[in-house]
Symmetry: C2
Subunit: 384 residues, 2 copies
């Protein structure tokens, strides 16, 4: 179902020949309205791909008629010609739909630094526009995969009967070239752009933004939320926000599960923080410790590597009041060895590392993966 | 030669039984004066090992009679009892030398979170004090190794005939448990503590501080500079600073070369920066990109991963004015593809990545290594 679960949306996913082989590589999502309200969040990397620069302009208007997405090339670091390619792609979709290119968002994912094969891509737009349908959501979700082993889709029904659906790509924020995350969420609720923006920012802040598999930030990350209003339901905004958040959380979980090269899904749960920001900073520092991630891969409850990561932050804590549990066993108490480390069972895929800062009531959880030889293999062989 | 190359120093390195097996694991460096001036720099990690907390107090007095160093255990995250162990070690050395413990610095390296075997260690101090000699520098350098495959030693003669010598441990800041770096530098020049401090901080700032193999910060890093004054030479301070810097640079290079698990030594040379700080920030961001480090391991000149790392910083630059060369080939010009990437030869062990920010005259170079399956293997198996 994915992006076509809500009323008012059609989609398609086709093989345009952007990738080598016969795999789908072009997706189109069309909003038939009556509303075209939309919001987006984008990578904070200052080196932004051409489609990000383009789509930020489109979203500034708060209206999106269609989103065209390709895998097989990121169109990042491609200069003015790359931007022209994105513009031409939007124009081609606009022409087919008899619309303005100013309401056509563009997303790309794949290798950085190479131009897209525009002949194949523009021909593909023709094919995709001829194939868009109410049941094209799954094909669209398939077409945006790079090294993702499965499509990521989700949908939830809200109060009054409206629907929120979504699709995402990104192999756990981890494996492929810079791990671009693309996500399109649709709803048939009637929500103006301003409130879509609020709901989307709040949802991504506590879902996608708390995945941190390798600390690398993509040039292409894009999350879009489109509302058709076709259900006729005007939802309570708080409730709507919860539904959007649930879809984002579900998609984020799917990204983590599909992390190629990873053998563990690690939740860094920070408690006892003086502020939520402190909790996030600490969780992120721990999640970025290569040494810790190697230890978890080796099923070694090496809590010293947790403390040394905590110590690099400026969060409020005293070193001799830090407590650390791994899978529920408090192996570090008061900054020193606690319960017997042999009690920690690290064989399950899911691992929870709890860091108690003993400094306040706030909490946050960052999700990451282990660091494995397979990660090194995949990322040393990707573009060659 | 190492720390005993300068006049006025004796040293020993013995096997105390702290490590399993017969390897040396305890080193002692004694300054026989006439001066005891000393300076130190320590890890900025807020979780500091007991010997770091102790030695910071000692160095605050600006005088060091002796340094006792052990491998086989970091004595970090060991609580008040761990601090008592460090204190007892210093007292034991002081007693043997008939001195005050307040002038005995202590350094430890090894696994975090476990108490040291104090009986073995204190007995070892007796053995070491009975063996200190003018030619004990090499044995001392050997005794502080953990996974280092070779001892790291260096010495330089300064103008007027004074000597600066040093020993260091740390397998490239990369392989072993948190990659503690310990370094003791000695000189027979007559330099007061205040000027030793200046020389040491300036030297480490542009040498050890610019190694960044895996972004992980140790709880135990310590660099000490001890002056005996035994040569009778009072050097020009600028010239002395250059000699100290040369010794630090030589030791830093040796650390990088010995990076276990690494197949490449990568210099990230940032040019065209608006400030030296910008250059360091950018170099560090690039050096911490796991994706780039995997690409270099795979001999893939993936400049897109360089740009995406640059883009995460707040340095002054425009994305469309960034240039990147790998081993001298400018494969990225103006933020887009430049010369033919097939011209880049990544087979040599030494790799230079030049990042031109096109924003000013400042430069800095950060040294790192590639990310390999061997790194993962070593760090997943270390404590178990």
């Amino acid at each position: 179902m994915s992006v076509t679960a809500p009323l008012g949306f059609r989609a398609a996913g086709i093989a345009a020949g952007i990738k080598s082989g016969d795999a789908r590589d072009l997706a189109l999502v069309v909003n038939d309205g009556p509303s075209r309200a939309a919001a987006g969040v984008f990578t904070s990397n200052r080196v932004k791909a051409a489609p990000v620069l383009w789509s930020q302009q489109v979203l500034a208007g708060g209206r999106v008629r269609a989103v065209v997405l390709n895998s097989g090339g990121a169109n990042a670091c491609t200069g003015p010609l790359g931007f022209q390619d994105t513009h031409a792609t939007a124009e081609k979709v606009a022409e087919a739909l008899q619309e303005s290119a100013g309401e056509i968002a563009v997303c790309s994912t794949g290798l950085i630094g190479e131009r897209l094969p525009m002949d194949a891509l523009l021909d593909g737009v023709d094919v995709a526009t001829s194939q868009i349908s109410r049941d094209g959501g799954l094909a669209a979700a398939d077409a945006i995969r790079t090294t993702d082993t499965v499509s990521k889709i989700s949908f939830r029904r809200g109060e009054g009967g409206y629907m929120v659906g979504g699709m995402a790509k990104g192999a756990g924020m981890l494996a492929p070239g810079l791990a671009t995350m693309l996500c399109v969420i649709t709803t048939d609720a009637d929500v103006p752009a301003e409130h879509l923006d609020t709901a989307l920012r709040e949802a991504t802040r506590v879902t996608f933004d708390r995945l941190d598999a390798d600390g690398c930030m993509s040039t292409n990350d894009t999350v879009l939320l489109l509302a058709s209003g076709a259900s006729g339901v005007t939802p309570d905004l708080a409730e709507f926000g919860q539904v959007v958040r649930a879809v984002c959380a579900d998609l984020a979980r799917q990204l983590l599960v599909d992390a190629e090269g990873a053998t563990k899904a690690i939740a860094i749960e920070v408690i006892g923080a003086a502020s939520e920001e402190d909790a996030v900073v600490v969780g992120r520092a721990v999640s970025r410790s290569n040494l810790l991630k190697c230890a978890i891969y080796g099923e070694d409850p090496n809590w010293g590597r947790v403390l040394s990561a905590v110590g690099t932050t400026d969060a409020v804590f005293e070193a001799d009041r830090l407590n650390v549990a791994i899978n529920g066993v408090w192996i570090c108490r008061g900054g020193a060895a606690g319960d017997d480390r042999s009690k920690v069972d690290l064989r399950p895929r899911d691992v929870t590392i709890t860091v108690d800062l003993s400094a306040g009531p706030h909490t946050a959880t960052i999700h990451t993966t282990d660091l494995t030889a397979a990660y090194v293999h995949e990322n040393s062989a990707y573009s060659s």
